[in-house]
């Protein structure tokens, strides 16, 4: 059987086929036919995007002003290497205390990560079914200047799951995080600081 035409796929998604025609399409897809399956998935995504589209284009003059950036800048964008710094763990309360010592005390886990420019203080508070993560970025510069950061909680595969921003004291929080292993990434504009393999556990 030849591949399914877009018109058929459109009618399939729009529930416009007879039971017999629909059965033929299902049978073709179940062969499996990867190409038609991919076309169907793409078509479904595009139609869904179109149906829900409430995006707004900038006014023409605003877009033109931005387009002109590429014409008015005398220098081409520099090919700066992207810098990613992995913060090193320098303190972990779970490693410091014996199991006897932890008996009866708070179960919150305290950690400190360091880079050349900052320390990152983390506290994980386990709940019954999930965890809260509280943190603070502390500058190690003599000026003590706190650079605002965009913080994202990512899956171990690097997919952004949640995001927040540090406040004026460098603090941030993520709440109700399910058990699992995550990366915490701080976007500081000119570099990215990552804490990888952060484990959240619940009893």
């Amino acid at each position: 059987m030849a591949h399914l035409k877009y018109e058929i796929l459109l009618n399939y998604l729009g529930d416009q086929l007879s039971a017999e025609e629909r059965g033929k399409v299902d049978a073709h897809l179940a062969k499996p036919c990867w190409q038609c399956g991919r076309h169907l998935a793409l078509l479904r995504t595009v139609l869904h995007s179109i149906a829900e589209d409430r995006t707004v284009a900038p006014p023409p003059a605003i877009l033109k002003r931005a387009v002109d950036i590429g014409r008015s800048q005398h220098e081409l964008p520099r090919r700066n290497p992207w810098v990613r710094v992995v913060a090193a763990l320098s303190f972990d309360s779970r490693l410091q205390l014996s199991s006897a010592a932890t008996r009866g005390v708070t179960r919150a886990r305290q950690m400190l990560f360091t880079t050349e420019q900052m320390d990152i203080d983390l506290q994980i508070k386990p709940g019954r079914a999930d965890n809260d993560l509280l943190g603070q970025m502390l500058s190690t510069r003599p000026s003590g200047e706190i650079v605002p950061a965009f913080v994202s909680l990512q899956s171990s595969a690097g997919v952004s799951l949640r995001a927040t921003e540090t406040d004026s004291l460098g603090q941030f929080a993520f709440r109700q995080i399910p058990s699992g292993t995550y990366n915490l990434v701080f976007d500081l504009e000119n570099q990215e600081v990552a804490i990888t393999g952060l484990e959240f556990e619940n009893d």
Binding site: K5, Y6, E7, L10, R38, H39, A41, L42, L43, R44, T45, V46, S49, I50, A51, E52, D53, R54, T55, V56, A57, P58, P59, P60, I62, L63, K64, R65, A66, V67, I69, G70, R71, L76, P77, R78, R79, N80, P81, W82, R84, P148, F150, S152, S160, L161, R162, A163, T164, E165, D167, S168, L169, Q171, F172, A173, F174, R175, D187, E192
Partner: protein
């Protein structure tokens, strides 16, 4: 209406982001224009979703465009430009809010979303915005008959009747269905060339 210079930008219009960025880095103003047009709706819609007024959204758009230009050469993953733009635009919105409320101290997850309750609630919503922006850009690269047909069919509110579309485009009403399929097929091809992901 802003008119993209169809004849001059066409060679770059269908390039996936990584290749398009590479052409930008060689100094092509046209490639830069294509890149901005591709993501204009994504960048501009985010401040509006957060409830920022239009003049702030204009400033956010300009600032993000400038930051994109400055960082083109250093993007860590050119295939994930949309995600980079979402983060950068959200940060610009956040800055804008800080300027409006300098005393604001926030220590809550999704801080910006809580300050601005109309904002998107999940990362998925930003991904949808990214796709919508790309699809709109791809429709802009279709030839006029298809571009006009799909715009009338999908983006005009209230949705016009087939008879009205046929009258507007001077085509038989019975040809709208088959034409819609052909035009969507062309759209899919453009999106595939652009590296549009359906997952």
């Amino acid at each position: 209406m802003y008119t993209i210079h169809r004849m001059t930008v066409q060679p770059f219009a269908l390039l996936p982001d990584p290749e398009l960025i590479e052409v930008c880095l060689k100094g092509s103003g046209q490639a830069w224009e294509v890149l901005l047009v591709r993501y204009q709706r994504l960048i501009y819609s985010i401040p509006l979703r957060y409830g920022l007024p239009e003049h702030d959204a204009n400033d956010v758009f300009q600032n993000v465009s400038l930051r994109l230009w400055e960082n083109l050469g250093g993007l860590r993953d050119r295939a994930r430009l949309g995600a980079w733009l979402v983060i950068t635009t959200r940060r610009e919105c956040w800055r804008m809010m800080r300027q409006r409320k300098p005393d604001t101290t926030v220590l809550e997850e999704q801080a910006l979303e809580e300050i601005l309750p109309t904002g998107p609630r999940s990362e998925d919503e930003f991904l949808i915005l990214e796709r919508q922006s790309q699809v709109r850009a791809a429709i802009g690269h279709l030839e006029a008959p298809c571009r006009e047909l799909l715009s009338l069919l999908f983006y005009t509110e209230p949705r016009p009747a087939y008879s009205e579309i046929a009258r507007n485009l001077v085509i038989p009403e019975g040809s709208i269905g088959p034409s819609r399929s052909r035009c969507l097929e062309k759209l899919m091809k453009i999106l595939e060339d652009m590296g549009f992901a359906d997952v």
